[in-house]
């Protein structure tokens, strides 16, 4: 009886949460599928986006900026957080605080300040956004990696791998990266979604990216703007799904008892 009550309460809570999350989504999806002011449904608003001039160019720019941001996150963050867990412990407090700074510093200050510190060869190219996106997504990427590594006995795994004859490069690629793969994906997901949606920095630095382009065109067509919002959300979901799928470590429920 108690159990039944408990389950019932849990189900009610779940239902309310689901309505809260999905109702606006469903409404937005329905709205984006409307054919002009009529009751009919069609993909016209989605087609409208593709027909706007600049769609592929701007999407291309954002994709390239994103790709560089992803690579930088991988190359800079994974080894750094690994090092923090394997002997750099005494700097961990400091880094914990430092990685929060992008949340505290106003974007305007960040934009002008970070520009000064960027390497010369990216100056004046749209790729300076990549560097900024790595910084802005750092509070999330750092935490995702940090949590993933805390959940593994990393020092012991590294010692075991070294002992079994693994060079440092093999330790990194065959032991550390695969054993924290889920959190690497989580970190990359942060960088990707941020790169796909970031508007303020791009606008401040006068770069045309997919988000700035969207903002411009959506002022002309409210249905088109909704279609865009729904489209990017589904894109993010697909990404999340792919990342879960790529991670080969079986979950507890996937265990098949012999």
């Amino acid at each position: 009886m108690m159990n039944f009550r408990k389950n019932l309460d849990a189900n009610i809570a779940l239902a309310i949460a689901a309505i809260f999350l999905f109702l606006p989504l469903i409404a937005a999806t329905e709205f984006s599928l409307r054919d002009g002011g009529t009751e009919k449904h069609s993909l016209i608003s989605y087609r409208w986006i593709l027909d706007q001039s600049g769609f592929s160019e701007n999407l291309g720019i954002t994709m390239r900026v994103m790709a560089l941001a992803v690579i930088l996150t991988l190359v800079l963050m994974v080894p750094t957080v690994t090092w923090l867990h394997l002997g750099g412990e005494k700097y961990k407090r400091l880094i914990d605080v430092l990685t929060m700074l992008p949340l505290i510093i106003p974007v305007v200050a960040l934009a002008t300040g970070a520009q000064l510190a960027l390497p010369g060869f990216v100056h004046g190219t749209v790729y300076e956004l990549s560097f900024l996106y790595v910084v802005v997504s750092m509070p999330y990427t750092y935490r995702a990696l940090d949590i993933g590594m805390s959940a593994r006995p990393l020092a012991t795994l590294v010692a075991a791998a070294r002992n079994l004859g693994a060079s440092w490069i093999n330790v990194m690629l065959r032991v550390i990266v695969p054993s924290i793969l889920p959190s690497i994906f989580a970190a990359l997901f942060m960088t990707i979604t941020l790169s796909l949606g970031e508007f303020t920095l791009a606008q401040l630095l006068h770069w045309n990216t997919f988000p700035t382009w969207i903002t411009n065109i959506s002022q002309q067509n409210i249905l088109g703007a909704t279609a865009l919002a729904v489209g990017s959300l589904f894109f993010a979901w697909v990404l999340l799904y792919i990342f879960t799928f790529l991670d080969r470590q079986p979950t507890q429920s996937a265990v098949n008892e012999e």
Partner: protein, 345 residues
């Protein structure tokens, strides 16, 4: 039989903490040597330095007459089993065992064959496609052992591999480690803080304290002829009875005994007596002790008695000989050893 592993004058400090202090040890080919000592005495540090996972502040390590002090860990060909679970979580059991061979670029068929062979040795053949988190703690440590042995290590290093397991599994697995080690004739350095474990499976046991090796000897020698007070009180239970040394003799419980170790000076000393060397006579007319407690341990019983000066002694007697003893009984405590061990501490 040459010396396999030779450790000379190893020292290591972490800041002001001296973890290892002029530590030397030589292990013969195929020998199993245990390092035994209280927590923090430097056992893990010694093992990690041998494995190349930690640097020594000074000292030299030689393997088969070759200096390896500066050889990096991944080129030392030593298999190590860790205290905590150390299997690679993203690899199957088989892939874990084959990892060392993969690093040595062995062809795939050979890796799988060897992994299968070792999993059979540790009795886990049917589990080879599973992932580490699907195994029990004892099974995981078996896999770790198989993984360490798969590379046919020059030296096997075991850092308290059984300490996370429950008593029954621990006992089975320690016998298995010994069996495999003898079968494969693998030179082994085994670290533990469980003396029973060390005594049960080792050719020799080294007792450590504060980064120093106090004594290294066979289990029998350590037990019967401890070289220092630390070893005497660390290995097995020991009664300590204050007395005087005169002309190579001490008086304990009203009787004179000659001493085993003659290097002590005359004067105040402490006699060290094992519980099993104290016999309690119930039907004697002379009484020098009163029974305080008796606990039944199976074949033997532990009896505590209070002697004249108020101190408590422990006696270990066959249960059949001590059935008549009850708390409050007056008894005669006699020392069955002809010679006793003393210390002037």
């Amino acid at each position: 039989m040459g010396n396999s592993l030779k450790i000379e004058g190893l020292s290591r400090n972490f800041g002001s903490v001296i973890a290892l202090d002029d530590f030397s040890l030589t292990i013969k080919k195929g020998e199993l040597v245990s390092l035994l000592g209280p927590s923090g005495c430097g056992k893990t540090t010694a093992l990690r330095i041998v494995a190349g996972l930690e640097r020594a502040s000074s000292g030299e390590i030689t393997l088969n007459d070759k200096k390896i002090t500066d050889v990096p860990a991944h080129k030392r060909n030593m298999g190590m089993v860790f205290q905590s679970y150390s299997l690679f979580p993203h690899l199957t059991i088989e892939e874990n065992v084959a990892f060392g061979l993969q690093m040595r670029r062995e062809p795939k068929e050979k890796r799988i064959g060897k992994a299968g062979e070792l999993l059979e040795l540790v009795g886990l053949t049917t589990q080879h496609k599973r992932f580490p988190h699907q195994l029990s703690g004892g099974q995981q440590q078996r896999v770790a052992l198989a993984r360490a042995l798969a590379i046919q290590p020059e030296v096997l290093l075991l850092d308290e591999p059984l300490s996370a397991l429950d008593a029954q599994v621990r006992q089975n697995l320690r016998e298995e480690i010994r069996r495999l080690q003898v079968e494969l004739n693998t030179t082994t350095l085994f670290v533990t803080h469980d003396q029973e474990e060390a005594m049960a499976i080792s050719d020799r046991v080294g007792v450590m304290s504060h980064g120093k090796l106090e004594q290294i000897d066979t289990p029998d020698e350590l037990y019967n002829r401890p070289a220092t007070l630390f070893v005497a009180s660390f290995i097995g239970a020991m009664n300590r009875i204050p007395t005087q040394l005169k002309d190579g003799e001490v008086e304990v419980l009203g009787e004179k005994h000659s001493v085993k170790n003659h290097n002590e000076k005359d004067g105040n000393v402490t006699a060290l007596i094992r519980p099993e060397s104290i016999e309690l006579l119930h039907d004697s007319t002379y009484h020098n002790a009163v029974v305080v407690t008796r606990s039944f341990l199976g074949a033997s019983s532990r009896i505590t008695v209070r002697i004249g000066d108020g101190s408590i002694l422990q006696s270990l007697m066959p249960s059949s000989d001590s059935m008549e003893l009850h708390p409050g009984d007056l008894v005669q405590a006699v020392i069955t050893d002809k010679k006793v061990l003393i210390t002037n501490a």
